[in-house]
Structure formats: C-alpha cells, structure tokens
C-alpha cells in the first residue's frame, strides 16, 4: 500500500468528490478528513467519499469518517459514500455509520 498516497479530488458544482485509497486506516483516514474539511471550508455542500479503490477499512479509519460526517453536519453540508464494496458496507453497518450517511 502506498503510504504517500495523495488524495485525488474532483469538484463539480456544489459537490466535491474525495477518493479514498486502497486501505483506510489512521494515516489515510486523516488525509481524507483533512481534504474533506478543506472542501467543506471551501463551501462545497455535498462531500462524496469514493471508495472505489478501497479494499480494506479498519475501525480507526471508520472513527475518522464519523469525524468528517460531524464536521459536514456542523457546516450544513452532507456526506455521501460511493462505490463502497459489500464487505465495507457490512462493516459500516456494524458500526452504525450507515445511520449517519447515505451509501451509494
């Protein structure tokens, strides 16, 4: 896994899409958090976190994602998780993440 992974971001209208890496752990989670906060601060109202490349997610990564959801909520923005594989969806459900975010 590439620990120097740079977070790709695409923006369109009021939506910013942030692409997660193959392993969502503390390090990569903090990078996503930082990027999402930056996009929220820049005024984007919908933050899409794309998990198309993500194979494994750990609990620390999930806890950081909840921080992103909180930050967005506080700024009047919403968070959407996209391209999430089935195993990761199961994980999100176990930890109650799906109660706070839309998963596509």
């Amino acid at each position: 896994m590439d620990t120097e992974y740079k977070i790709p971001v695409q923006t369109s209208g009021e939506t910013a899409t942030v692409y997660a890496s193959d392993y969502l752990n503390k390090l990569s989670g903090e990078k996503i958090e930082r990027e999402c906060r930056r996009q929220i601060d820049a005024g984007y109202k919908t933050i899409v976190v794309n998990f198309g490349e993500t194979e494994i997610v750990n609990s620390i990564g999930v806890s950081i994602l909840l921080g992103v959801i909180d930050a967005a909520s506080g700024a009047g923005a919403k968070v959407v998780f996209s391209d999430v594989n089935e195993d990761t969806i199961e994980l999100f459900e176990m930890l109650g993440l799906t109660n706070h975010v839309r998963v596509n």
């Binding site: 392993y23 750990n58 609990s59 994980l91």
Partner: protein, 753 residues
C-alpha cells in the same frame, strides 16, 4: 592484562559469569594500571548491589594478569569490634596478599600462615620492609589512646611503607560501613582517612553509600579530592541477563516474561535474583510463569533465603527482639488509607519509643543511623521515612508486622500475601512498560537551556497547520531560520517527578510521565525571572479533547497551588495532539499542548538523550511475526488470505477474517507498550475451522488504566466489537505478560444468537 583469570581467587563467580559492571570494572582497572590519576576513589554502593564481588573480580584480574601492582583487598568486619583488631587484620592481610602475589600462589591465603611464617616466605626484595612491619605488629600497645592510635596508624600505613620500597599496591578497602559499629576510642575511619589523604598510591574505599559519603566528608580529615563511583543496582537488561545465566547454571527453566519479572521485581538486586534461582534449583522447580515465581518468592520471604537475609540484617542492626519489633511497627504501622507511608518527625517517634535496649537519645540516634546506612529507612535531619520504593523490604516488613505485631494466623498471612504478589506481578510489568515508553519529560525539560525553540515544537496548532503529515526531513526545526516563530525556553536548574512535589498526582499518572522543572526565564537568576514548568504526558487515542485538557490543567494547577509556584507554565503532551477546542482551553490557561511527535522533535532539537525482547514457533500451523507499525498488519492479512483461500473459505469469510486480524494487530500495537514491538501470529487450520492467535508482549488489556484521567474516548474502541462480529468465536486468553487473543472462523458459518 588478561580479560579473565583462569581460576577464581577471591571472586565467587567466574569472570565470564560476572554480569554487567563493565564501566565500573574498566574504571577500577585503569586506576590500578596507573592510567587514571592516582589517589582515592569512593565506591558508593547501594546495599547488596555487588560492590564486594566487583572488587574481588578486580583483585583476581590484577593477581594473575600483571606483575607491577600488588592487588590488595581488605573487607572491614563487624566482628573486628575495635579499630585495633581491624588494623591488625589489615596488616596481616596486606603482608599475606603481597607474598601470595609475589609467589603467584593464592594457596598462601588458604594456609592462613601467622605473621612469623609470612616473614619467612617473603622474597629477599621485600623481606626488609615486611620484617619492619611485622615487628610493628608484634608490639603490644599500651591502653593509652595515643599509643592505640599510633598502633592503628602503623598497621594501616603498611601499603604506604611498602610503596616507599618500590612495592606498589592497589588498595581496595571494602565494607567500610561496618566500622560504624566499632567500639573503643580510636576511630578506624578517621585513622584511615588521615593516612590515605597523604598518600599518592591508588586506593578504593568501598561501602554503603549513605555511610561512606558522610564519613569522608566529615571529621578531622576530609577526602574531598577523592573521585566518586556510584554502584547502583543492575539495570533491567543486566538483571535479566543475570537471571538467564543463573537459570542456566542452576538448570531452572525461565521464559522471557518470567525472566523480565524477576529482573524487575527485585529491582536489579543481584543478591535476591540469585536467592530465587538457587531456591528454584533446590526445589527442582521451573520459573516459567508469574505464578511459580510468586509462589517461590512467598516461600523465600517466609523463612526462606530472603526472610533469613533480612532477619540477619535486622539482628545485626538491633540484636534485641523488642527493638526489632519496634522498628517493624514503626515502618508498617501507617495510618489506614495511605498508600505510601509519610515521613515521621524524629522527636515524635522517639517520644513514643518504648524499648529498654534503646532508651537514650544517643542509642536511638545510633539505631537510626544503622537503619539508614542499611537503607531500611531514609533519615533526614528531623524525619524518618520508610523506603517505599523497595518492594522486597516492604514485603518482608509487612509479613513480620502481621505475624509478630498483629499476631495474625500465619497460613492466612501467607495466602493473602501470595495473592497480593500474584496481583502485583502484572502491575509491576505494566508500570515498567509505561515507564519505558515515557518520552522522558525530565530529560527534555533539563535540556531547555535558554534555547529559542520553534513554536511548532511546543504548540500543536502551529504544528498541525504546517507539519502534521510532513516527513521528518520536511519539518523545519532548525534554530537558524529567522522566519520561524520561536519560543524562548527557560534555563532549567532542577527537575523532579511531579509526584515528588505533590504525591497525590500519582493517583492519575505514572511517576515518570509528569515532571516539574524549576528554572529562570533568563540566565540572570533573578526573582522576576524565576519560572516553573509543570509537564505531563497524557493518554488519548485521538486528539485530546477539551475535557481532557481541562482535567489535566486543573491537576497541574493544583500542583502549582500546593507548591506555591507563582509563575508557572503547564505543558501537556498527548499522543495525537489536541483538538481545536482543547487548544483553546490551553490558550486560556496559558499552557502549551503538543503531540508526542512534537515532543520527540523537540528532544531532537534540544539534543537530549532518552533512554530507550518472543516465543519460538511450534501440521497445519503457520506462524508469522511482524513488527508493530508501518501497516504491517496488511502483511499478516495477505498471509491469512492466502491460507484461508487454500482451505476453501468463501471470499466473504476471508475478508471478515482479514478485517478481524487487522483489528487485533492494531489493538496489539496501540495499547501494549510492547517491549519488543512485535506481533506474534499463529494460524491453525483444522478440518472445519481456522484459529487465529494474536499475541504481544507488554501491557495486559486488564492493566489498561481507566481512570478519570482517561475521559470517554468516544468513537474509538470498536476493534473488539468488530472482531466479535466478524469471527465466530473470540477469546481473550489469560497470559502473564501482554495480551493473547484467539479468534475462530468456521468453514460453515455458525448461526449467532
């Protein structure tokens, strides 16, 4: 000189089995060789730290390794009773050792020749001066003080007289503290100081540190020019090595956790470590679990070697049984509820002392002095304090108190104390791991030295903004960059653990994780510039919250209040730094908050030095050991994926196993403070299931502190929940050291309730 003698002469262990003391050995040999400056060296030793064996090892090396310097070792004995008796023995030993050395024949010691026989054995070169010395010893001194004093001087100056005849010796006088109990009008230590202060020969005075230091710095003659060599208990790794060597010697099986417990529990005391392994050998038992160690330790305490050892120490200090009982009562009879016994006023203790054998103030002072020298108590000018840090002594005292003073049932006392020791063992190791993982606040504070440090190293807000995800080499910590915001650090003149200033702080943090530094903002040392820094390392998995910051500021401000620190600065270090809200709290309190990485970078900037152990693998079993950190859990996950695939697990189950494994690895790395930083993994595949066992050394999960200092950590702590949800069975196995988690996944999924 050869590195090791072929045979022991005075030493009790072979040179190759003599563990540690490398620095001390080199220093002593350099002195003997004349490479270092001549004159006196004080070997200040903690009780039973091995000073005698060290000196005997030096003697053996000098005896067979060279021919220039006559090695002379002499130990003062309490049984000498008077300075004169001791002096006579000194002279006899010097002549005997000189002749034995000249003949390279250690058997001369064993023959115990009298002074006339020695005279006949002397070589022609030495015969003249030895004859004169023996004549001096034959003189029958009168009872007058000056004559006695002259006689003692005459005997003690033998090495100087020999040197005048080109017979140079390296004099090692051991157990000088035993002279404290001599009677008579001639002060042995005073005579010795007077003679050797005038000499140019190399000599070593060794003994209990508390006696020796005081003895040479007071009195008519002061050995102010003598160098000091402090002999502390063995450090942890040396003590562990000693335990391993002794275990091999006595054919006692130990494992790494049990070896480490032995090293730690006895505080690096070689005497006690040897006692335990000898006892294990004698009982033909192994010491490969904490339970076995504590059972044997209990036996040793109640009538075994350790008990007998302390009984003898007490008997020598105070032969009278009632006096001993009073001492034990004094040291154990603490007010209920106090974890550590507080210092007691001397006058108050004496007033309540009821003892026919120690009835006068002078007798009492003498008793206290002996107790202090033997480090049974800590004596200051007007208080007496128990040696709380010595667990073995405290266990002995507690056992004696309960049996003799409280007259409790012996079986009950033994059972309860064994139970306490078993509970204490993992706590002992946990405390050690915490201490070992501490960043060394005292060292960092002591190195402040009025330097201008980049603010990013102390202030987490600045650090987070600029450097949080930057590589080490991208962080501009150099002091030369003018554009970087700087913080002027004070000149620190004194540091101590916060608990030393304010003992209640121990309830919320380990001693080594909080420090107080007293200093001056500028090097001018004025009242206005006086400042105190109060620092603490705190626990938090994520950025520390405002509640946590507030909690710690309150505690450290209490320290300032109680200690009357009017101008102070609080510095908190949390593993992941502080949340914005917490930083705001810290700003309001005029405090600094930094992450652990910042502290490490600050230490690097200040150029401080911070003082920084596995089971062997055992048909269908796979073992893998990965280092903690660096996403190595993915390597383990890759391995289990391949193994599970080979055994026909479904892709979904494989992913669940991988995720659970990753969580177990993260848990091991995050919480254990592991001494070897390794995760041991075993994958056992059976017909219908795969069992994954993850172990690590370090803190046990049950040792993890959950106090008010650790406010709720919100969304963290999901690892176990995930493991239990993803696997069919999860078990936390009881181990002495660290944590072992066993997780099972069945080929055909179990239906969970």
């Amino acid at each position: 000189m050869s590195d090791s003698p072929s045979n022991k002469i005075l030493a009790t262990v072979e040179a190759k089995d003599f563990i540690g003391r490398t620095r001390e050995t080199e220093m002593l040999l350099r002195r003997a060789d004349g490479e270092a400056e001549s004159g006196g060296l004080l070997l200040l030793s903690a009780p039973h730290a091995g000073a005698t064996e060290l000196l005997k090892q030096i003697y053996d090396r000098l005896f067979s390794g060279q021919s220039q310097v006559i090695p002379f070792y002499f130990a003062v004995r309490k049984s000498d009773k008077t300075a004169k008796n001791c002096a006579v023995r000194f002279l006899h030993a010097f002549i005997a050792q000189t002749i034995a050395f000249r003949h390279q024949e250690p058997k001369i010691f064993d023959a115990a020749p009298d002074i006339r026989e020695l005279n006949e054995l002397a070589s022609p070169d030495d015969a003249h001066w030895i004859d004169r010395l023996t004549n001096a010893a034959r003189l029958q001194p009168s009872s007058e003080l000056d004559t006695d004093s002259a006689f003692v001087k005459n005997c003690l100056s033998a090495p100087l007289r020999a040197a005048a005849h080109d017979a140079n010796s390296f004099v090692m006088i051991d157990n000088l503290h035993e002279a404290e109990s001599f009677s008579g009008d001639v002060d042995f230590v005073e005579e010795l100081k007077e003679i050797f202060s005038r000499s140019t020969i190399s000599f070593v005075l060794a003994g209990r540190r508390r006696f020796l230091l005081n003895a040479v710095q007071t009195g008519n003659t002061k050995l102010t020019a003598a160098k000091h060599l402090r002999l502390e208990p063995l450090d942890f790794s040396e003590a562990g090595l000693l335990a391993e060597n002794l275990a091999e010697k006595y054919a006692v099986r130990v494992n790494e956790p049990s070896r480490d417990l032995i090293a730690r529990q006895f505080g690096g005391n070689p005497t006690f470590i040897k006692f335990l392994l000898q006892a294990a050998s004698q009982a033909e038992m192994d010491l490969d679990s904490f339970q076995k160690i504590e059972r044997l330790y209990t036996d040793e305490l109640f009538g075994g070697r350790i008990g007998v050892f302390y009984d003898s120490v007490f008997r020598e200090i105070a032969p009278d049984a009632e006096t001993q009982k009073n001492i034990v009562r004094l040291l154990c009879d603490a007010p209920t509820g106090e974890n550590e016994r507080q210092p007691r006023p001397l006058d108050g203790v004496f007033k309540n002392w009821r003892d026919d054998a120690v009835s006068t103030r002078e007798d009492f002072q003498r008793l206290l002095s002996l107790l202090n020298t033997n480090e049974i108590i800590r004596l200051s000018s007007n208080t007496i304090e128990a040696m709380n840090e010595n667990d073995v002594l405290n266990d002995y005292l507690k056992a004696r108190f309960r049996l003799e003073s409280a007259t409790e049932n012996r079986v009950l006392v033994v059972a309860e104390m064994l139970s306490d020791f078993l509970k204490r063992a993992p706590e002992t190791m946990a405390k050690f791991y915490r201490q070992k993982s501490a960043i060394g606040l005292r060292e960092i504070l002591a190195a402040f030295n009025c330097q201008d440090a980049p603010a990013a190293l102390l202030d987490y807000s600045i650090y987070k903004d600029k450097y949080k995800n930057a590589a080490e080499n991208e962080i501009a910590v150099g002091g030369g960059d003018e554009d970087i915001e700087k913080i002027r650090l004070p000149q620190i003149v004194y540091t101590a653990h916060t608990a030393a200033f304010y003992p209640p702080i121990s309830q919320v943090t380990d001693k080594t994780r909080s420090a107080v530094a007293v200093g001056f903002q500028e090097p001018a040392y004025t009242d206005e510039d006086e400042v105190v820094w109060i620092a603490a390392e705190i626990d938090s998995k994520l950025e520390a919250s405002s509640e946590t910051a507030e909690f710690w500021c309150d505690r450290l401000e209490m320290v300032a209040l109680v200690c009357n620190f009017t101008k102070y600065k609080i510095w908190l270090v949390a593993p992941e730094g502080f949340s914005p809200e917490a930083m705001e709290i810290l700003r309001q309190r005029d405090a600094y908050g930094a992450s652990r990485r910042q502290a490490a970078l600050l230490a690097e900037f200040l150029q401080t030095e911070k003082v920084d152990g596995a089971e062997k693998p055992a048909a269908n079993e796979y073992e893998i050991i990965v280092p903690m950190g660096g996403d190595t859990e993915l390597i383990a996950a890759g391995a289990i994926e391949e193994i599970a695939r080979r055994h026909a697990f479904e892709p979904k189950a494989i992913n669940q196993i991988k995720t659970a494994l990753i969580e177990a690895c993260i848990n091991a790395a995050e919480h254990s403070l592991s001494p070897d930083r390794k995760i041991y993994q075993k994958f056992t595949v059976e017909e219908d299931k795969i069992i994954i066992t993850i172990s690590n050394r370090g803190l046990r999960l049950t040792d993890k502190k959950t106090t008010a200092a650790n406010p709720v950590e919100g969304r963290r702590g999901w690892g176990f929940k995930l493991m239990k949800s993803l696997m069919d069975e999860v078990k936390f196995e009881q181990v002495d050291d660290g944590t072992r988690i066993s997780m099972t996944k069945y080929l055909t999924p179990l239906v969970k309730e």
